[in-house]
């Protein structure tokens, strides 16, 4: 197996690779994560896994589901139990999950060094 031939990677925040919008259904927030360049969609599929997103939001959500939309270069995440009851029950500022999208964009994923340097030249 040619595992060693994989290029070196460095972590980079999703904000440099994707844009996002979120909404709510009851106590579930959804985050649609859309690749800024369709070429990066496979990278999102590989690295932004259900398990990693669940770890990113640990303590903030009770469960995560992931759906793939290759036609839109997008992933859709359902974050269950994310809204403190949701709707009118929730006491949260973001009771309708409108900005959960930006909280996902904080997540870091490993990307090839060359791409990371192109996206964030300062690093």
């Amino acid at each position: 197996m040619a595992q060693s031939s994989r290029p070196a990677t460095m972590p980079i925040q999703l904000r440099y690779l994707a844009h996002a919008r979120s909404g709510d259904k009851g106590d579930t927030a959804n985050v649609g994560l859309i690749a800024l360049d369709p070429e990066w969609y496979p990278l999102l599929v590989r690295e932004v896994t259900r398990a990693r997103v669940a770890r990113h939001f640990r303590g903030m959500v009770s469960g995560v589901e992931r759906f793939e939309l290759p036609n839109l270069s997008a992933l859709n995440f359902l974050l269950h139990g994310a809204l403190d009851g949701g709707g009118t029950m929730s006491l949260k500022t973001d009771a309708q999950g409108k900005v959960y999208s930006t909280a996902l964009l904080r997540m870091e994923i490993p990307v090839p060094v060359r791409l990371a340097r192109r996206l964030r030249p300062s690093r």
């Binding site: 959804n30 649609g32 903030m60 036609n71 997008a74 403190d84 029950m89």
Partner: protein
């Protein structure tokens, strides 16, 4: 025949459905611009969110003439002359829990404008099942909460409103009957767009791909400018002219393909990213976007740029509708209040946190019962929680925001009197209490359920009322 209608006759027929309102409270100038700034055939105005029906029910219980989107009749009064002159037709769920009251107000407006005989309102009713609940329960419909599985009987005495989501069929019927304004209650957001397309193109109700296409067209424009540059995260600084945002317009063809665009000369942007962000908004399982009219598969949607502020949408696939309709039930839960104070640099966050501890000690000493006390620090981590990292000790200010929820009104009222005292009895550098005591709010909670569509559809009525 007006100019834009004549344009259709040569080539393939195109039907333009324009979004006028994306929710109750949206920008009031939008529908006026949609009607005046360029050609459209239909203006659709969506007013209903999950909690809106219960707010309307509360207003109706205080005044039987209320219970609908009160913005709608005055808006119609502004645009009716143009709508009549240009042959534009309006579809709206502004009727809420009192579509008849809403329709009457529109008819009155038409008469005031001297448009008697020229305005026919199609009044759609039958979605409201509040008066039928006990009968339905008695006949074995449990109306279990889709999320928790609890039967409705648990909260029956607290129910404030109950409405089934109905689809496009009554809108098509009203348009076929000659209505130029269709006023409904809880018709789906997407049905307001799909109805006109089914009427114009004669799509069969079981032509699932086209039904899905019209549904997705509706989804794209139902939140107004959120598809045309508003709330657009990608390259947000590059979105120009949002002082006059062009609300989205669908230009649909008989094969189910359509263009999303906006009027020339307006602000905002219609692009593949702007449409994509709206498509994923409030998305569940993308393979199955379920509506009363059919199931749309969002993984089939193909988007392509088609010129400046034009995006082509096609390839949409759909599946058969289900035998069930969703029911939106609102019930009284209890009370809540949210108090805020602002603490300034230096060490703003630490001061706010110290105040929260003092407040909680006092609430506990008073023996007040709350379901929940939630503290957030706005400016530090209110929206991102621990993901925001350690609070900045140099932050210029932090807002302490404490919310409580309880079935006990007295407890919540007492809480609202515990915020101001912190100004003189707590940590220093505190301000921002000019607004006075926080309000005690009633919590109207949401109970989604399912019901056999055969219990609803025979009750749906369309009446044609001419001014």
């Amino acid at each position: 025949m007006t100019a834009h209608r004549a344009r259709r006759s040569g080539a393939e027929k195109v039907v333009r459905v324009a979004a006028g309102q994306g929710f109750w409270g949206d920008w009031l100038e939008a529908p006026v611009h949609q009607v005046q700034d360029g050609p459209i055939d239909y203006l659709m105005m969506d007013y209903l969110a999950e909690v809106t029906m219960s707010i309307m029910q509360k207003q109706k219980s205080r005044d039987a003439r209320m219970g609908y989107a009160r913005d709608f009749p005055p808006l119609m009064e502004r645009i009716l002359p143009d709508i009549v002159a240009r042959g534009i037709r309006v579809t709206s769920n502004a009727g809420g829990v009192n579509p008849r009251g809403c329709a009457d107000a529109v008819l009155e407006a038409a008469r005031r404008l001297g448009l008697a005989g020229k305005v026919t309102v199609g009044l759609v009713s039958g979605d409201d099942i509040l008066d039928r609940l006990d009968d339905l329960l008695a006949r074995g419909h449990e109306l279990r909460d889709m999320d928790t599985g609890r039967p409705l009987a648990d909260i029956r005495d607290k129910v404030l409103s109950a409405n089934a989501y109905i689809g496009m069929a009554p809108i098509v019927e009203a348009l076929a009957g000659g209505a130029n304004v269709v006023v409904t209650g809880r018709v789906t957001d997407t049905g307001l767009t799909l109805g006109p397309l089914v009427h114009e193109f004669g799509w069969d109700a079981d032509d699932w791909d086209r039904i899905a296409a019209g549904t997705i067209a509706g989804h794209i424009i139902e939140c107004g400018a959120q598809a045309s540059g508003g709330n657009l995260l990608r390259d947000w600084r590059s979105v120009k002219g949002l002082a006059n945002p062009g609300f989205p317009i669908v230009e649909a063809k008989a094969d189910g393909s359509f263009i999303v665009t906006k009027h020339p000369g307006t602000g905002g942007v219609v692009s593949v990213p702007s449409v994509t962000e709206q498509l994923v908004y409030e998305m569940g399982d993308p393979h199955a976007y379920i509506t009363p009219d059919g199931i749309a598969d969002f993984t089939s949607i193909q988007l392509a740029p088609a010129g400046t502020n034009r995006v082509r949408v096609d390839g949409i696939r759909g599946g058969p509708r289900t035998p069930l309709l969703k029911v939106s039930i609102a019930y009284f839960y209890g009370y809540k209040a949210i108090g805020t104070l602002v603490y300034s640099w230096p060490e703003a966050f630490d001061k706010a946190r110290a105040a929260d501890r003092i407040l909680r000690e006092r609430l506990e000493a008073l023996g007040l019962e709350f379901d929940q006390i939630l503290t957030e620090y706005v400016g530090a981590n209110a929206t991102h929680g621990r993901l925001a990292g350690a609070p900045d000790p140099e932050a210029p200010e932090v807002q302490l925001r404490v919310g409580v929820r309880s079935r006990d009104k007295a407890a919540v009222e007492r809480f609202t009197r515990e915020i101001a005292p912190l100004v003189l009895t707590g940590p220093p550098s505190v301000t921002g209490f000019a607004g006075g005591r926080p309000a005690v709010e009633e919590i109207v909670a949401y109970w989604p359920a399912l019901i056999d569509r055969r219990e609803i559809e025979p009750h749906v009525r369309v009446e044609l009322l001419t001014a």
